[in-house]
Symmetry: C2
Subunit: 413 residues, 2 copies
């Protein structure tokens, strides 16, 4: 199956936003074993969209369109695809109900425009919108499937995962399946990871191995082609064991898991709590933990100790350490982690103190960061030299703090 | 002049990276007054790239290509464009010198592959690469300009700004210029903003007005077509005054400014400090402030008071308020803002307490958020009903906290 993705929206051509939907959908389609050969972006213009549909029709079996399903007169995607397929638009009752309910609960009058969002192409398979108003849909025309999605990623992402992906899987059911598994690593760079796995990557055929570096972490995507998911997992088993025997200590999770989710679930399972003392990350570690629903069971709070005065007054960092070692030091990180653990009466305390830049501090270079983890048993401090600009250093330091917490909890008996 | 942008690279179609170059180039071209009508992405495949060039040739006067200029055999862009234009490739001596120098200074042997990077299309105008090895170039074929750029943004961005932009300006020298200004708003929704400006938006010709909603904020882009930047600004002046007379109280900044930058600069200018007490945002307000370099002058720190116990023990929220009103309440927000201001001895205190979801809390609905701002004069509390899922509510609440801080500081005498 050959696919292409057409994004509709003048805001993309003006450079106001980036077409992140194309990346997301490409990743999803590739993980289903569907090859994506083209991306395009067209503005909110009926003639240019129609012309682009004609081009896509001539070269693809599957055309995904994003954007242009909203209530305004700029939103033309449904109309143009319907005309292209020689069909009319019809009211989808379930979508209409969702829209009416939305306006009723908010006690806002519904305009005629909003009714347009409930129109779908005649005979289409409808994808409900769980986080917005405009439904998505799939129609087949002369052997080519057209799938329409809303533009906002917060609507498209759940619609694709919960509705369109199962729909595509059923279309592909009689073919070979492609099964992917992602291994997630932190605390090791991409090139260091690759060099330890070089022979495995060179020999790859089925499963394939694709490394990818993200901000502060690295992933390996393993992809198997097989007759069933069970067969694919069987093919992966020994490869995963071999990878883990070499670099397993850097792995923190699988597939879509984030560091903060893994940490919160692990603390819940072990019935443990943590508090955070953050200097250079300024609250990012705490915020990442509280992004996870259920965080309140494991995280009472933290101190953002950006100034030296707060480090001393709130967390008991001694004047002697501040004078001799400075706030950015192993002793500083240790006292902050221990201080916050004591203050919040938690099982664990984590601290981050470093130089995010752009200026050096206490004569210490930009990128020098200490991360402390205190438990009832002991306190460990990691010294790091992180690359990048200010915000990258903050992001990397926060992710590493979560990673060291996970690794500490894993070793607690 | 009608332009389109073609990105070449299988990694984009696999969803491994996002096509941020298209956004950057679109913004640049629009700011030059060049309309962008299409974006496309094709893989490293000679036939599909040639077919895409034929499509582009039929509908655009200016075609920008990114990627595929590197040393490997996957890098085909130059070869295919040369064939499309009926030209051959020739060695560019300056590029060759740069490449030789690169390998000499690193004492790494140069491979034959690297020599390929110094080849350019016969008769092309060459753009030097200041941050990498492969030069860019411009060639004209049957009235259509083709501009080729390397794929890595770190190479493309300076090449475009320093070489291609002046080149395009010289092509456009006899035409009009386009000047844009962005007004940034918070605390008002897109539709509410639009309805207050409906007549202005309906009448728009020159300048044009384009609203855009982002997470927790709205922007208006005003764009003028004129003979000079001064004339464009003159055309905008009365429109800006009219917009500000209607919705000025929601404006916080201009162009690329963020809420946190505006806040930190304003506090610096007024010589004021702030501390934060965060419940449902879990440290995000503090982190956003510390993203801005120089934040340490105005922000000593904050408390992440995720649990009720921390609210009481660290910030003096009274048992009576917690029992009668609950932690998510106007009285709670007030005590948190005043408590953190006192604890950190700052001029201002900000607090965020609310229900981020997915579960309701204290019998209060998801999305209910109170934001308190305490100063020496008084304490104000805003009650909000925010839409969206957990992380969206956190993002919106944090941005609104920054916005109310800005508005409070602006009113302080």
């Amino acid at each position: 199956m050959q696919a292409e993705i057409i994004a509709v929206g003048t805001e993309l051509l003006l450079g106001q936003i980036t077409n992140t939907n194309a990346r997301f959908l490409s990743e999803q389609l590739n993980s289903l074993g569907i090859s994506v050969y083209f991306h395009s972006v067209v503005g909110d213009n009926p003639d240019r969209l129609a012309a682009q549909l004609a081009i896509a029709h001539s070269r693809s079996d599957l055309v995904l369109l994003t954007g242009g399903l909203g209530p305004t007169k700029d939103d033309l995607t449904k109309e143009i695809v319907a005309r292209h397929a020689g069909r009319s638009l019809t009211l989808d009752l379930q979508a209409m109900e969702t829209i009416q309910h939305f306006f009723e609960t908010r006690q806002v009058p519904m305009t005629e425009n909003n009714r347009r969002q409930a129109l779908v192409i005649e005979g289409a398979h409808v994808f409900p919108n769980e986080t917005g108003l405009a439904p998505g849909m799939a129609v087949k025309h002369e052997g080519v499937w057209y799938l329409l999605f809303p533009g906002p990623p917060s609507e498209l992402t759940p619609m694709f995962k919960n509705h369109a992906r199962p729909f595509l899987e059923s279309l592909l059911a009689d073919q070979h399946i492609v099964h992917s598994k992602v291994m997630r690593f932190c605390g090791i760079g991409e090139s260091a990871l690759e060099s330890r796995l070089e022979d495995l990557i060179d020999q790859q055929t089925n499963p394939t191995i694709a490394p990818l570096a993200k901000e502060g972490e690295v992933t390996l995507r393993l992809t198997s082609l097989a007759k069933s998911k069970a067969e694919a997992e069987q093919q992966m088993r020994s490869l995963i064991a071999e990878i883990q025997s070499r670099v397993g200590k850097y792995q923190y999770g699988w597939d879509e898991e984030t560091l903060e989710e893994v940490l919160v679930r692990l603390l819940q399972k072990r019935n443990l709590t943590v508090a955070a003392a953050e200097s250079c990350t300024g609250g990012l570690v705490s915020h990442l933990i509280t992004r996870v629903s259920g965080a309140s069971q494991v995280f009472p709070g933290g101190i953002v100790c950006y100034s030296t005065g707060v480090k001393a007054a709130e967390l008991g960092v001694s004047p002697e350490v501040l004078r001799q070692d400075g706030a950015v030091s192993e002793a500083g990180a240790r006292m902050l982690a221990e201080g916050v653990r004591q203050k919040f009466n938690t099982n664990l305390g984590v601290s981050v103190t470093g130089v995010a830049g752009p200026e050096q501090q206490e004569g210490k270079p930009v990128g020098l960061v200490y991360i402390g983890v205190a438990s009832a048993q002991d306190t460990t401090v990691q010294k790091l030299n992180l690359g990048g600009l200010r915000n990258t250093i903050q992001q990397r330091a926060a992710k590493l703090a979560l990673f060291y917490l996970i690794k500490t909890v894993e070793t607690l008996v």
